[in-house]
């Protein structure tokens, strides 16, 4: 396909490799490079006049199981990538709470990697070793290396992760991997108040590690759906031991204990996507869950990661959310991030931190001086 002959805006192209971009340069790049993902959302902002489908850029560039690194093109989906490495008894400790199977392109562009693994294993920032992106002239640029450790040159990944491809589309990405943990005990409880679940979480931690600092849970989350609170977690400890820890905890209903051979994926609850990400210090989480208990809102909480995903949020709830939750969070140095692709909402007024937005705008003006790529997300 001759990309120079792309006729007009609002069209799609499906290049087979990023090098196809080279001849087209600016014309190709247009205002936005995006991609309609399997869930129907596109990268970048609405109203873009050009969209680029990355799903055919989906090759495995290099997979050396012995070296525990993999480099792939971003048209691969997260599931495919995880399955691929699991076949070699390796593990990429990243997940998404959204219940979809995003293309890596989307996963990276929106950074949907905050999950029930994050308190132990972090997010994309902790596992991406390098990337290849396209610069504002249409040239491929590389940063990082395909080894476990590397400090040569600037590492650009932290700027591109979650930047909605506003600095240029990412075409290739490399990850470091871990040996696959096994065996696994999966636990599910229900309770009628979040404090019961938080207390249980604390109790188990202390049973396992008297210092109370280490955490036996590899995956851990608390959710609320239709006013029902529940906890899901998994650990590398055997089920009989987990049962011993949990037997004496009162107030938990419907305990389900399952043994698995491979680490489970996080299951999405409900049909809707979260809309707001609240970040706090872990010790502030219990208090906020209490407040949220009195508001009728679905949520997913990662207590040790200090993160709560809220939503969907009815417009009628907005005012009370501002007053009861968002303003106090801002006062406590917490921050709130909009997770939707539709752009900033009024809700952002609740938070103050503008330094991040300002510096990313500056980075954008440096790397994309003519604004050929789509706009940056708001970073409150």
């Amino acid at each position: 396909m001759d990309l120079n002959t792309i006729p007009e805006a609002n069209s799609f192209t499906w290049p087979e490799h990023g090098s196809a971009l080279q001849p087209s340069k600016r014309l190709m790049v247009g205002t936005l490079i995006g991609q309609a993902n399997t869930a129907g959302k596109s990268i970048g902002s609405p109203g873009a006049n050009y969209q680029w489908d990355l799903s055919r850029i989906d090759k495995i560039i290099s997979f050396r199981a012995h070296d525990m690194v993999i480099a792939v093109e971003v048209g691969l989906t997260l599931d495919k990538l995880k399955t691929l490495v699991e076949d070699e008894h390796l593990w990429l400790p990243l997940d998404t709470p959204r219940g979809d199977d995003p293309l890596l392109a989307n996963y990276l562009a929106h950074d949907h990697s905050l999950s029930w693994l994050s308190h132990h294993h972090g997010t994309l920032h902790d596992w991406v070793m390098g990337l290849t992106a396209v610069d504002h002239n249409g040239h491929e640029v590389h940063s990082g290396a395909l080894v476990l450790k590397n400090v040569a040159g600037y590492q650009l990944a932290p700027l591109y992760i979650g930047a909605r491809m506003a600095l240029g589309p990412v075409l290739e990405v490399s990850f470091r991997l871990l040996p696959m943990p096994t065996p696994v005990t999966l636990v599910h409880w229900k309770a009628d108040h979040p404090s019961t679940l938080m207390a249980a979480c604390q109790h188990i931690t202390q049973q396992c590690y008297p210092s109370g600092r280490s955490d036996p849970w590899e995956g851990f989350r608390i959710t609320r759906l239709d006013n029902q609170w529940s906890m899901d977690g998994w650990t590398l400890y055997p089920s009989d031991l987990v049962k011993e820890w949990t037997d004496k905890i009162e107030g938990l209903e419907d305990e389900i204990l399952t043994e698995l051979k491979v680490p489970p994926r996080e299951k999405h609850v409900g049909n809707q996507r979260p809309e707001l990400l609240i970040q706090l210090r872990p010790t502030q989480v219990a208090g906020l869950l209490d407040t949220l208990h009195s508001l009728n809102m679905d949520l997913t909480c990662y207590p040790k990661a200090g993160a709560i995903l809220l939503g969907p949020i009815a417009l009628t709830d907005m005012e009370v959310l501002q007053r009861e939750v968002l303003k106090p969070i801002a006062a406590k140095d917490g921050r709130v991030k909009v997770m939707t692709t539709e752009g900033a909402m009024d809700i952002l007024n609740a938070t103050t931190a503008s330094a991040e937005s300002a510096i990313m705008a500056r980075v954008k003006s440096i790397l994309d001086p003519e604004g050929v790529f789509g706009p940056l997300p708001e970073i409150p």
């Binding site: 905050l114 590389h142 476990l148 450790k149 040569a152 040159g153 210092s211 510096i359 440096i366 970073i379």
Partner: protein
């Protein structure tokens, strides 16, 4: 006038060297501002010494995971600027995995704070980008570091080998067996000689190489893993495999490892410390190549390696008083680094580029790549007064050096 931030000056790539101008010595900004044990983080000034932070955190059951061997002297600011690693990087990651946020001063005097005391980073993260930029974009003046819970228990093991290749083969085999040690270090014979000549760490003098392997976790979990490690080492021709029986023995082994580089001064008038990385499966090849290259230059080379990460530190022994001695050491070092690139690795895993390796950077990156990175430096440090001349080669040298080695596909990223 140019100005250069400096921590403890232990950097090994010349990042804190100032050619004229002013050095901003940060070692007196050494206050530990606060520790929040229940939220597992601390706020420090950049001049806080790595060991000091750990000493303060330990009674609270916490630690700062990056543990460069220089940790008795180096500062958190320097660790951040170099994205320092250490023996425990294999399991716990490097400095960029342990900094949550920072306050910085830009060259024009603007002060800003990025990140914050939240345990996870989500979305674009300027603070993380700054880590490893070697003080070429901004000066960190306050740093929020993650503290990790100290493991309930540790098991330290020593495997002894008659050949370096057997030791390096064991490294991959241990990980392939599904065990992720928190440290997996290799020390070769020349280093062993140096260490044992004055420290008596317990490394057998006749060994071609030893592996220092450490596991952490609960006793119950470590036991089966330690058995696996022992089995793997023996099946890879380890002549002995032992587990440290006491904390004292464990500490002695680590003392030997942490002082391995310094000890070399006992057996050579001078040595050039190098830092390269290869994919772990090429460890055996790079070690053989390193010995071969040193021999060709009529030099001896000792090695300490963060073997689990594929990170080698060839220590090239030379006599600076001998005519051409330094030049031969430099040439030898460059050849070893070129071999790292050819094997799909990197010219630095933790010591940075500084002035030492800036002319080698074009061997890893294209002109377009370097231009892209330099755009950021020039845009954020527009007059180039902050730490000039570091990391990036002077224009003309890029073209001259490029194209000497072939880079395997996939190593770019």
């Amino acid at each position: 006038m140019p100005f250069v931030p400096r921590g403890a000056g232990t950097g090994l790539s010349g990042g804190a060297i100032c050619d004229g101008g002013v050095i901003i010595q940060l070692s007196r900004m050494n206050r530990l501002l606060a520790i929040y044990p229940d939220d597992c983080y601390a706020v420090v000034q950049p001049g806080v010494v790595n060991n000091y932070l750990n000493l303060q955190a330990r009674p609270l059951g916490l630690g700062f995971a990056p543990d460069p061997s220089s940790q008795a002297a180096c500062t958190i600011g320097g660790n951040l600027a170099e994205n320092a690693g250490g023996p425990h990087t294999l399991k716990y990651g490097v400095t960029s995995n342990h900094v949550l946020g920072q306050t910085v001063v830009f060259p024009d005097g603007e002060v800003a704070t990025y990140g914050g005391p939240y345990p996870v980073r989500s979305g674009p993260d300027f603070s993380t980008f700054l880590i490893g930029t070697e003080g070429t974009i901004a000066i960190s003046t306050e740093i929020i570091v993650r503290l990790v819970p100290l493991p309930p228990d540790v098991t330290t093991m020593l495997a002894v080998y008659k050949s370096v290749a057997d030791a390096t083969d064991s490294v991959s085999a241990i990980l392939a067996a599904g065990v992720l040690p928190n440290a997996l270090e290799l020390i070769d014979n020349l280093c062993i000689q140096a260490v044992e000549s004055h420290l008596k760490a317990g490394f057998p003098m006749e060994a071609a190489a030893v592996l220092l392997i450490e596991l952490d976790g609960t006793k119950q979990m470590m036991q089966t893993k330690a058995e696996t490690v022992g089995r793997v080492c023996k099946s890879n021709a380890a002549v002995s495999f032992s587990i440290a029986k006491s904390e004292e023995e464990r500490q002695r082994l680590w003392l030997g490892r942490k002082h391995a580089v310094g000890s070399l001064g006992k057996i050579t008038p001078a040595f050039y410390t190098n830092d390269g990385v290869v994919p772990r499966s090429r460890l055996t090849d790079i070690m053989q190549t390193s010995y071969r290259i040193a021999k060709e230059h009529d030099l001896s080379v000792a090695h300490v390696c963060h073997a689990g990460d594929g990170n080698i530190h060839p220590l090239i022994c030379y006599n600076p008083d001998e005519s051409g001695g330094s030049q031969r050491a430099t040439a030898c070092s460059t050849e070893i680094l070129m071999a790292c690139i050819e094997m799909g690795g990197s010219i630095t895993g933790e010591h940075g580029i500084g002035i030492e390796k800036r002319d080698l950077l074009p061997q890893m990156f294209s002109e377009v790549d370097l231009e892209h990175m330099q755009r950021l430096r020039n845009g954020l440090n527009p007059e180039g007064l902050l730490n000039p001349g570091k990391i990036f080669p002077n224009g003309s040298r890029c073209g001259e050096l490029r194209g000497n080695v072939s880079i395997p596909r996939g190593t770019w990223i």
